[in-house]
Amino acid sequence: MSNLIRGLMLATAGLTGFAARAADTMENAYWNLPKGVTDISNEVWHLHMAAFWVCVAIAVVVFGVMFYSIFAHRRSKHPVPATFHHSTTVEIIWTIIPFVILIGLAVPAAGTLIKQYDSRNSDLTIKITGYQWKWQYEYVGEGVSFFSTLDAKSNEARQLGSGIDPKTVPHYLHNVDNYLVLPVGKKVRFLLTSNDVIHGWWVPDLAIKKDAIPGFINDMWTQINEPGIYRGQCTVLCGRDHGFMPVVVEAKTEAEYAAWLAKMKGGETVAAAAPAIATDAAVDAPAAAEPVVAEPAAPEAAPVEVAAAAPAAAPAAAGPNGEKVYLGNCAACHQATGAGLPPTFPALTGSKVVAGPAAGVITQVLKGKNAMPPFAQLSDAEIAAAVTYVRNNLGNKVGDTVTADQVKKLR
């Protein structure tokens, strides 16, 4: 017996030693949680490893006993079973020990959690709005705002039967047209909400993940220590293209960040797949608040800070290009050709609704219907352009021109 126990102990020690050596390589392997680039992500990583090793230790003991018993107490070796079936003492012991272990895990976890919840004293605030299926970032108080959508290459490669090998696409599905640019060393607070359904914003290297809930604001914060590009994606099932709405954060040094911001404010629009509503916060921001079926609450009065700081850069005289608006917003479902993806996403080519009264089409775009999200975030002019485009292209020939005023009336 004592031999066996010694053997067991030796085995355990051996295992632990092996584990310790393996640990170093394992802990940093790409298939472990990343340590990340913030203080919090480091803490979280240590908690994760602590919990992991606790589980490993318990597993070694529990499974050790189990396999020893399987080996030593099989009938051919141990023909006469013992008869004990009760012992209050051991039961109390094995109730208390796990309890103590759990307290050991709970205390540091609570500490980290409290820090994660403390978003006070931030240096800058960014409002993130989820859309089916893209993100909008607004630099609150800076008047900078843009959409961030899956990059064109990935988007092409991910189509069924595209014939493009994803391995040849850089950062396949983890790349966007416009990065969220952040300064390092600054405490950044995020305000999260959604325009349609629930989305989730996650960047593993920052160890932050939160749900974007329509009609509510969630907040979270981060402070990045190293410049770099950090990638993640939407984590709450949000419909057909849930798998295709990545999050990419680029952390720049303060000076670079300031330069970038200045350039953005310079009125230069971001080359967005979603057409340039870039600095036009006054137009689009409040609408973001509008959940599925809502009448707009009091959109005009909305986000004070944003609106105030936004240079009222009205769309250029020529007006937005209908085709561009269509490709940026509608083609994801109705396809660039207008053929749609029936049965869920109807074809616009030859659609009775499209050919019907303009008001019907405008309302559908403004309010959405079933799986079609509302597009109230687009400006009147953009919707007018898109509807005109749809009614006169993609194989349709209505022949009228929808005006921004018509849209405005139907809002």
Partner: protein
């Protein structure tokens, strides 16, 4: 079988006065199955149904795994992928695991407590026959324009409200499943409270009966809540209510609270009967009484109680206030304590026993080993600050498949190997059983272990396509899934031999397993159509011997 008399039609329901009604066999043909009120018939029906559903759900999981075999969309549309995961989960949970356990309860509870049938046999028939109708409704959505439900099995609004024709059918199917579960649960509770043979005191009941009693309470408490939640979804979509719409003063997150108030107890509904099965099988093959019978019962009761106050651990990232977050983190972690007691008691039962390793025992040991691994990842998930990283990643998928597949499903398989000789009167093929176990145990790990890694590396769940760095583990996982699925055909063959192609199979004795205790082993194999029309007397030996 008495073929001579068949007078059930003529006599209607007053045949109970019939003097020779012990000859009264079942009806013939399909009508037997449609009209049956016999717990064994219904148990059989439930098990067949569950088996078919496992198969359908398994095929769906293969569609999922095939799509995930390589980055890039392989062969299905993303929308269809979402329908597959939603239906896979609903079919497995409501069609596979729950009816599987109810089928076992139907067969075994009356035999274990020494009574003739469940307390409410006609209600029992109703509870079963709802299922095929409900699932026809649910699965028929796949053939409607727009396809099946695609919002995930958790049905979160507003996404789920975007569904088309599948939406009301899904909701009503869930209502029907709720009726089925509630009637089934009431039946079990009443049977156990009211129909025990004389001398069968509560603390002499086999653990399978105990765990089912507590499971039934959970079902009665939470299924109506789910019914309420989906009703609110229905009215939000069609009748203009604003439960889950902030513009009207509601909150989409409110649905999550109500759903998980049901959903968390639901996951224990899927594991408590499994605990009961394992607590029955291990003592038999260790030839040793179950260690710590009383504390096993208390542990199950505490798990059930705790399951009502931990639901928001599924919602750590929705932005609940700090105090709530802490409360739910602590209460969740507490569940490890009673569950630990169970694991340790199983080990203590094996300890210094005299073990043999027939197929049921192998699956039971496999259960203890792999369920515990699933429990460990559960405890990691319970740590809220770290769950921010794990949440909705494949780490979670790995966690719950470890507790569900080698947990719930292994236990169902173990139970069938264990009791099928009693049901059919013939022994299954032990050699095939062992092969089935080893293949299952290996491939289940091949399938789900890599999902831990890919989750930690950052792959979210519910996506049809992924970034290329996740490829390797997904390839392994897909291989595992296909091989696991194929391995199940060994079991299917084995069981069909027992149930249908019985030629050449070895007849089973009434005792079947030398180490087994309990009333079910006192009747012949196969068990007669009506058992214990006279209650047996249960002696004073502690039933902990079971």
């Amino acid at each position: 079988m008495a073929k001579t008399h068949d007078h059930s039609h003529a006599h209607g329901h007053d045949h109970a006065h019939d003097h020779d009604d012990h000859h009264h066999g079942p009806d013939k043909g399909v009508m037997r199955w449609i009209k049956t009120t016999n717990h064994k018939d219904l148990g059989t029906l439930y098990l067949w149904f569950s088996f078919i559903m496992f198969f359908i759900g398994g095929l769906m999981s293969l569609v999922i795994r095939a799509e995930l075999y390589a980055p890039g969309m392989q062969f299905i549309d993303p929308e269809f992928y979402n329908q597959m995961i939603t239906l896979h989960a609903l079919v497995m949970i409501f069609g596979g695991v729950m009816p599987g356990f109810v089928g076992l309860a139907n067969w075994m509870v009356p035999m274990m407590i020494g009574c003739s049938d469940l307390a409410l046999p006609r209600v029992n028939n109703w509870g079963f026959w709802i299922l095929p109708f409900a699932f026809t409704m649910l699965l028929s959505t796949l053939f409607l324009p727009g396809g099946g439900p695609a919002g995930g099995w958790t049905l979160y609004p507003p996404l789920v409200l975007q569904g088309g024709a599948s939406f009301p059918l899904t909701i009503f199917a869930i209502h029907m499943l709720g009726i089925s579960s509630i009637t089934g649960a009431i039946n079990v509770v009443v049977t156990i409270m009211n129909m025990r043979a004389p001398g069968m005191t509560l603390l002499k009941m086999p653990l399978f009966v105990w765990t089912w009693l507590i499971t039934a309470y959970l079902l009665i408490a939470v299924m109506p809540v789910l019914a309420g939640a989906v009703t609110m979804l229905l009215t939000d979509k069609y009748f203009g209510t604003s439960f889950f719409n902030a513009a009207g003063g509601g909150d989409p997150v409110m649905f999550e609270h109500i759903f998980w108030f049901f959903g968390h107890p639901e996951v224990y509904i899927m594991i408590l009967p499994a605990f009961g099965i394992v607590s029955t099988i291990i003592p038999t093959f260790a030839r040793k009484q179950l260690f710590g019978y009383d504390s096993m019962v208390y542990a199950v009761a505490s798990i059930a109680f705790l399951s009502f106050i931990v639901w928001a651990h599924h919602m750590f990232t929705v932005g609940i206030p700090l105090a709530g977050e802490l409360f739910f983190m602590f209460s969740t972690m507490l569940i490890a304590v009673p569950t630990g007691v169970k694991v340790f008691n199983w080990l203590a039962t094996m300890w210094r026993g005299s073990m043999t390793f027939e197929t049921p025992m192998l699956f039971a040991i496999g259960f203890v080993f792999l369920f515990t691994i699933g429990g460990f990842s559960g405890i990691m998930l319970a740590l809220a600050p770290v769950d921010f990283q794990y949440h909705n990643s494949y780490f979670v998928v790995a966690h719950f498949h470890y507790v569900l597949v080698p947990g719930a499903i292994f236990s169902i398989i173990a139970a069938i190997y264990y009791w099928i000789p009693k049901w059919t009167g013939v022994m299954y093929d032990e050699r095939l059983g062992k092969i089935h176990f080893w293949l299952s145990a290996i491939f289940i790990n091949v399938t789900f272990f890599p999902q831990h890694f890919v989750g930690l590396a950052g792959m979210p769940r519910r996506i049809p396509d992924y970034a290329v760095q996740f490829t390797d583990f997904n390839v392994i996982s897909t291989w595992g899934a296909f091989l696991y699925f194929i391995a199940q055909f060994i079991m299917i063959y084995n069981f069909l031999r027992c149930a249908i192609w019985r030629k050449g199979m070895v007849p089973a004795t009434s005792q079947v397993w030398e180490g087994a205790h309990g009333l079910e082993w006192t009747v012949p194999s196969p068990a007669p159509y009506h058992t214990f029309e006279d209650p047996p007397h249960v002696g004073d030996e502690p039933a902990a011997a079971h």
